[in-house]
Amino acid sequence: MAYEMTLITTMAISVLFALSLNFISGFCGQISLGHAAFLGTGAYTSAMMTKASIPFLLTLPAAAITAAILGFIIGLTSLRVRHDFLAITTMGTGFLFVGLIRQQEFFGGEIGIAGIPSTGLGREGFMALCIGLAALFAIFSIRVRRSWMGFVYDSIADNEDITRILGINASTYKLIAFVIGTATAGVAGALYAHHFRFIGPDSFGFVESMSVLAMVIVGGIGSTAGVIVSAAVMSVMPLLFQFIDDYKLLLYSALLFFMMRFSPDGLAGLCSRTYDKIRRRRA
């Protein structure tokens, strides 16, 4: 049972992390190539705090706040640069984060932080917390999608200039998306740190940013259900198929490439198109 619980906890954390990126990239249309930096910010904040024997649950809001502050700053840059420029700027943030952490003795430098204390919730309790938080954010995402704010995000993603012409303050809404998305990533980071009990600069590098983006895009960018499925499956795939370990990255990247090449709207798009086809054949 212990192994299954570890798998489910990993899944829940990945789902929460992927949904947080989906909020920024899927809803608001701001592609981020450095999202792991926020996971890392949350993870380091929380780990440093529990190591100073502050109770784990108190570190969750702290992790959310530090990640959100960083997210707010990156959000400000998104008001300045757009599209491809923004994609590269966010990518730069990721490299900057790893580059800074790596040189600071305070954060354990190259070696990272080991021996992060247990949460005191027990294995079951921690799993329940992770699932609960992921479910909560999923429900929140779906609610936002259907709200007035969701429509604003749709229109920003579609055409920001027209949104502005309609008299909507697109900048404020973009900042809100960045703050919510990055704060959630920070919480996911806190969970991540206490799940694996070890973090290092390489845990939050470009590969991690890319794989979370892959989860969002394979699931279908903007589709909450699609992202949940793909994040859950893609996060445990490498654990379930240990035997393909050597070819794991090749398989992932090939999957991602063919997804982009043949179904750019992801699993969600694939499903809805297949569904339409079947219905048309019946009619």
Binding site: F85, I88, T93, F95, M260
Partner: protein, 287 residues
Amino acid sequence: MLYVELTIQGIVQGSIYALIALGLTLVYGLLRILHVAHAALFTLGGYIGVIVTNQTGSLTLAIVAAAIIVGLVGMAVYKLAYEPLLSQPPYIALIASIALFIASEELYRIIFGPYGLSYTVQPMSGHIELFDGFRLKYVEILVISMSVVILSVLGYLSLHSRMGIAWRATVTDPSMAQAFGVNIQNVRYLNFFIGSALAAIAGVLVALLNNFVEPTMGSVASYKALAIIVLGGLGSIRGTLLAAMLLGVIESFGTIYLGHLIDRDALAFAFLILVLMVRPQGLLGAK
């Protein structure tokens, strides 16, 4: 004295960056695609350079072979990967490109082995003494002179040859160029051929500088080259060259003076973000 040495190191590194980033700018200018997989072609160039040199003993042949083979592979990448995605939003092509890049790194690891290759006899390994103990390696002279020659020839051709004029017309306005009888498809193929060949040459030169090629030698180059073309103002050739040289020099000084604070590869992005905050369109980009 230290300053002169650091500046020369920076210029050598900057020349390599310029060769790599120029291909990226060419692709971006024409297709608006951020071509991350470009760095995979750079690595392939390095491998072909080392293998051909070890087999035949001729560095010239190796450079020519790498440029031609990789140029053709670049055309295939355009045909198979990018052409079908041109009608999609730009991030789709970007993600496809990143996926292609990671897949190629893995393929190199599986085909050529994880430990990398070296020259059996390293060509041009000597150096000259300029003044009181100041050395300049032959390889470094080769790197600087080759990029100067290649870039000036390309610059001349783009201004004065028929194909160059057709290319510039297509970049400015594809549909207008087509109306004037330019075959856009050919321009794109040529674009990918030249850009990829330049990356391959850069790969051979880097392999010479380090006497080593490995599957991941492109990773840092790929992201840094992106930073360079964004810094230069996407699609601006002059901006790219300026940014490449600047970054080369800044890095070689930065590693000495800021190395304890931030690592070398993050420095490029710190500089990038700083510049973008002041000039969102890049150093020489049009508004």
